[in-house]
Structure formats: structure tokens, C-alpha cells
Symmetry: C2
Subunit: 258 residues, 2 copies
Amino acid sequence: MMKSILLSAALLGGAGALHAALQTKTIEYQQGDATLEGVLTWDDAVSGPRPGVLVVHQWLGLTDYEKHRAAMLAQLGYVAFCADIYGKGVRPKTVAEAGAEAGKYKSNRNLMRARVIAGLDQFKKSELLDPNRVAAIGYCFGGTTVLELARSGADLNGIVSFHGGLDSPAPADGKNIKCPVLVCHGADDPFEKPEDLAAFESEMRDAKVDWRLIKYGGAVHSFTQPDPGFANPGARYNEKADKRSWEDMKQFFAEIFK
Amino acid sequence: MMKSILLSAALLGGAGALHAALQTKTIEYQQGDATLEGVLTWDDAVSGPRPGVLVVHQWLGLTDYEKHRAAMLAQLGYVAFCADIYGKGVRPKTVAEAGAEAGKYKSNRNLMRARVIAGLDQFKKSELLDPNRVAAIGYCFGGTTVLELARSGADLNGIVSFHGGLDSPAPADGKNIKCPVLVCHGADDPFEKPEDLAAFESEMRDAKVDWRLIKYGGAVHSFTQPDPGFANPGARYNEKADKRSWEDMKQFFAEIFK
């Protein structure tokens, strides 16, 4: 579909017709008593409902990093919605704050699910979105979150975790996963314990999930994030792994949205 | 480059100009006293030297399976050479014969390397090949063989193993690997021991190889091979993993040949 849009535009108006026309809209929505603030991003050169990607943030909360990824997705022709898990204005500034905030949800997977489901529900209200073609991607904390979204039984075409935590307190919930799963993992990530990796594989295997996992050699945690916001040799940008995992995601989308 | 060729052909002559024009040529060559018989495959609609792919066979020796893969590669615009490791006419018909023949090379990695290097050298004599853009791929036994080719220090742009054995009797040879490595692995392959997988990762890590490994959920051994030639629940075709790994290979080629 992407190709035919691009081709049509090129044939009708020449390359000049493909000017970037990215639009963003900040959207408040609720989960229980919490007010959340997400951002919708799209290219208004694309008309009509299109496939969409829910983007879930890292432990620092919704930052420019996720908005940039959403813009990259919009440039590919998707509509993207950056969900807010933490709540409006909750944007940790330090490692300690980020750890504490992420910990609230990691230790309460029901709340994590409720928050991300609220984001998905909000996204589905958009007229720009083809509700039958929706994926979710997440980075670090967000990778864990989109896995929990899948474990909740959400109706999605697929999910992608980039350097996300793969552990689950309830591995039996793997049986609720209805969509293909792609895990992009740094082969040298020191924050993902071998036993958690093994447990994740068992969860997928036992539940007969349609899954695949890519190990990028030389990559540690946060390999897609040029500025992880803190200094730690175990969390470092890796340009090769960043670009490769983005291509892997695009290929995954080509498959699930065809 | 592939795209520009296809686009040019489409613009110049319409889709009709892109008729399949696959050519094959059986080629005898030597390694020591052994006579080997490989097959070169290309599309004569493509002109001039082009990137090439050496294809190494499974434990049954060079069969129609590898020739079919070579045709698929030629259709993508590459020139492909199916190497012969076993020798002209050596084509095992039973599991016992195949195991014995493969075992000769698995237990003598120097001979395995000599045979595959002879194939690469023969391939490089072709005027159809751009000698600066050469990859090697292999299936099962052939996956092991292309890894050994890389471990020999061969000058290549990249290698891909499909359900290949990853074990090495000399892990220190990983330091000789000069090119990116892609391993396509069935996550449920019962013939690849967890300790061999772990040792392979350590070999790559210690030698700082540019590597990645993809685990395809639900796939066992021989997942790309519709007819493995013998009945074994641990070796079975998996259409999803077959198609995905082929796409992953194409993406890898797009990167290493750009």
C-alpha cells in the first residue's frame, strides 16, 4: 500500500509533490482518574485511513525521542500515536526518578496494561487510522509495555520490542498473544538476564506464539537511543544495530500489513 | 543497484522486457586431486559484472534444492555459484550416506575450508561477477561450511547461514572473520545444542565480529527445505520461517552490497 501511494504521487506530480507535510497533535485522554497526554503524528500528503503504529516510551516517559520515531513512521506513510503511560507532566529527570516511575508499572502489570490499552483505545478514535491495521512498538520500558499489551489479548497486527525487558510475572499470559511478535535485542545487553531471555523464549514456545527474536552482535541496552540520558557502559547507542533494527521493523510491518 | 536495473528495464522496454532469461552452466574444477562439479546461474537480462552469491549445499550434496535457490538469486539480479564440496558424482542417497559424507568434512575443517575456498576461487573467475561484491550462503551443512569459509579469513562481503551447525573446533579462528555474519536459526532446532549456540555467540563476541542471529519461533531444523529427504520431526519445512529468512537475507544483501 505504501508503495502504491508513493508511486501514484510520483507519477501524478513528480517528486516535488512528495514534500514533507508532517502534522502533530497533542491529545489528552484518561485512564481511570489519571490524565494522560499523547501525541498523534501523520503526513497529510497521505489521504484516508492508513495503517498505524502505537509508540510506547522509555523509562524517562514520553520525550522528543519517541516523537522523532513517530515522525519517522509518518514519513513511511503510517499514522503514529505516542502513548503516555506515566501521566501528563510526569517526565522523570534523573535515573532515580525514572527507575522509580518505571518500577510502579513493572511491579503492577495490570496498571501497565490499563495505561497502554487506554492509549490504544484513544488511537483507535482517529479517523486517520485503519483500525484493522495497527501495530505497537516500544523502547526499553516501552518494549516491556507493548509485550504486556499483547499479553492482555489486545487485537493488534503485531508488536515490536526494541531493547525491552522480556520478563513476565505471569508467563501463562503468553497464551493470550494473538499477533506476531518481533523482539530486537542487543546481544550484549547486560540488563537482560539470560534466565529472563530463556523464560521469554519458553513463554513464546509454550503458547505457540508467532514470534522471532533478533540478537544484534555488539549491541548493549538502549542501542537505538543516541542519548540515553545517563552514562552507563551497559546502555549505549549502536548505529549499526539501530539502523538494522529499524529495517527489520519495516520488513515486519510489510508482512503484517500486507 | 538491483532497483535501478529493474527500473531502467521497466522504463526502457516495459514489463515485457523483463522476461526470465535464466542461464546455467555446469563447471568442473579441482581441489587437490578431487574433481568438483558446480553450477553457475545468472540472468542474461542483466549486463556486466554484478554482485554474486556462493551457495553451499546441505548434507545430501549439491541437489536441485540449491540450484533452485541459485535461480531465485539470479532472479534478484545476482550471479550465483553452487559450490560442490563432496566431489563430482558424490551425491548421498540415504541418511547414513549423507551423515558419513558430511562427517568427513565436519571432522576435518581444513578439508572443508579447502573445498569451499576452491569453489570461491572458481566463482571469482567468472566475468559475470563483480569480485568486490561477493557473499556466501549455506544451508545446514552448507551453513557450517560458509562459517568455516569466513573463519578461514576469506575476503567476502558477508555470509548467511540457514539452519547451519554453528559449532567450531577452533573458536579462536573467529578472529579471522572479516565480514558481517547473519545466522538464521530455528528457535526449536533440536540438532543445535544450547551449548553450541552459546559457544558460537562467545566466539563472535570475543572476536568482535559484526554478527547477528535471528531465532524464528516455531521453526526446527531444515526449515527452508520443503523436502528434507528423510522423515524426522526435528527437521521440517516451515513456510513462515522460510519466507522470513529469505527476506532477512535480502535485507542483509542490500546492506552489504550497497
